[in-house]
Amino acid sequence: MKNFLITFIIIFIPVKSFGLIEVDITRGNLNPLPVAVSPLSIDEESRKNFENILKKKNIGSEISSIVENNLRISGLFNPLNKDAFLQEPDIANLKPRFEDWNLIKAQALITGKVSYVEEKLRVEFRLWDVLAGKEMMALAFTTVPNNWRRVGHIITDKVYERLTGEKGYFDTRIIYVAEEGPKTQRVKKLAIMDQDGANNKFLTLGNELVLTPRFNPTSQLVTYLSYFRNLPRVYLLDIETGTQEVVGDFPGMTFAPRFSPDGKKIIMSFAKDGNSEIYTMDLENRIVEKITNHPSIDTSPSYSPDGKFISFNSDRSGYQQIYIMKSDGSNVKRISFGKGIYGTPVWSPRGDLIAFTKLHKGKFYIGVMRTDGSGERLLTENFYQEAPSWSPNGRVLIFYRETKTDSSGKGFSAKLWSIDLTGYNERQVPTPTDGSDPSWSSLLSN
């Protein structure tokens, strides 16, 4: 965990020309851009040093594999098979022979070099436009060797940003609930992992039920629901230090927590006498404010990125629907009017859309609508799925999906899935156990 405190020293190497390749991420991409990720070259002495420290035979190839995998799961790129590469990594990094790369139909090429400098890992990499025969970007950075996986993610973020014009989402983590055991007695633990499923760690032991962890957008704090001592309450956990505390002093169940965009408040529901209302608590001065005031269920609050509005879930019309209000609780307005019931509204980090779960005619959907409720678009349909969480660039949603059991009640599983905002590129996110309630972190490196 400590590693995340160590800053990366990034140096931009000036590039003379401007590239020509562009990737459009606003539409479903059925023709991913063919890209060649040449293994990062490494001198023999550096290779041996890193082998000693990291127990990896060739750290250059390892980092390249991370970049390659990230590009593949983005759905926008098609990393080409390395066996077809004609040029050696070290020479390609100096000056690629574009005809060779053109021959294998690569449109973009990533090359680079790793070296061991004063006990640190130094990486430089270059992005080339193969058709134009030009360098598009060059970057160098230095970090502690243990950060090697993050180096791969940062390279991917830079390449993604250069080619799509939007920030990446690869140097990020997912916090979620790891699940095991029979459906009637699930054991649940908080778990955290890199966005690609690597470095999975369990943060609680499974002694008490835990649900709905969410990242603070600005720090390493997490808020979640724990049934510690059979008192369901919202907790705050510092994932650097492991310290945790109850949020507020409520005489009943608190649940559905989320941070405000500045990370200074927690917004959540408090249930008492059969009525759930939305409250906020300021983490600095501990002042608690009641935001909603209605005898129906008001829950699943989520702030707009500017902090001025709150979307939430209420059954005041008789069934679960999505509402928005000003952050002081005024101007409550229902925005979901389609057929079926709607839950779990989550405001996009770009501010223009709200992602939701919808139940209609026995099927569950993950969808998005504009913040006034117009333009509803359903991205995926299944037996059961819910709880979308946005990637920090607002281009991908992660959620969980549960399977239908057979007639003997067997065959239950819960898995994490992601899908692009376009409705394409649906894929399972690998976890060592079953998983649910995923929450995506902000970019760690800016």
Partner: protein
């Protein structure tokens, strides 16, 4: 002609079998549900002889049925006789709803039971409420009957 007659008879027998089995299964499920409220006793435990521990709800509802009110009156009578006993009302929802909403719904169901017990003379000091949402189903099935068993408020002795 003869062959077709045999086939025809055979067909009729098959149809009859299908009708019977369909009848048997549908009878079984309607026998345990009224509307979509569970009326069976498969999962019910007893706090004392003749005092069932749980009541069941319709989808998305927290209204007590006639049968639920009868069960709760029995519980209230038992609690009045055993004045030292304190209870936890555990509210639950089925798996066909979002997690956070179901936590609120479970709380609402348990409170419906609490309010009713209070009108029959049980002090709120003796009752606490705990919602599990959809986290603790009794039946792991993914079908209407299983869901009906899971939409419940269970009265549990706390001491």
């Amino acid at each position: 002609m003869k062959l077709s007659k045999i086939l025809k008879n055979g067909f009729l027998i098959v149809v009859a079998c299908l009708a019977l089995s369909a009848c048997a299964t549908s009878k079984k499920s309607t026998g345990q549900m009224q509307g979509d409220v569970y009326t069976g006793t498969d999962t019910v435990e007893y706090l004392a002889s003749g005092v069932p521990d749980r009541v069941f709800f319709a989808t998305n509802e927290s209204v007590l049925t006639t049968a639920s009110r009868e069960t709760l009156r029995k519980q209230a009578a038992w609690l009045r006789k055993n004045s030292k006993i304190t209870i936890v009302l555990e509210g639950h929802a089925d798996e066909r709803g979002t997690r956070e909403y179901n936590l609120a719904l479970g709380e609402r169901r348990a409170n419906a039971a609490k309010d009713y017990l209070m009108t029959y003379g049980i002090s709120s000091d003796r009752i606490s409420v705990l919602s599990y949402g959809k986290e603790r189903p009794v039946d792991s099935g993914s079908n209407p009957l299983a869901w009906s068993k899971n939409r419940r408020s269970v009265t549990v002795k706390a001491n």
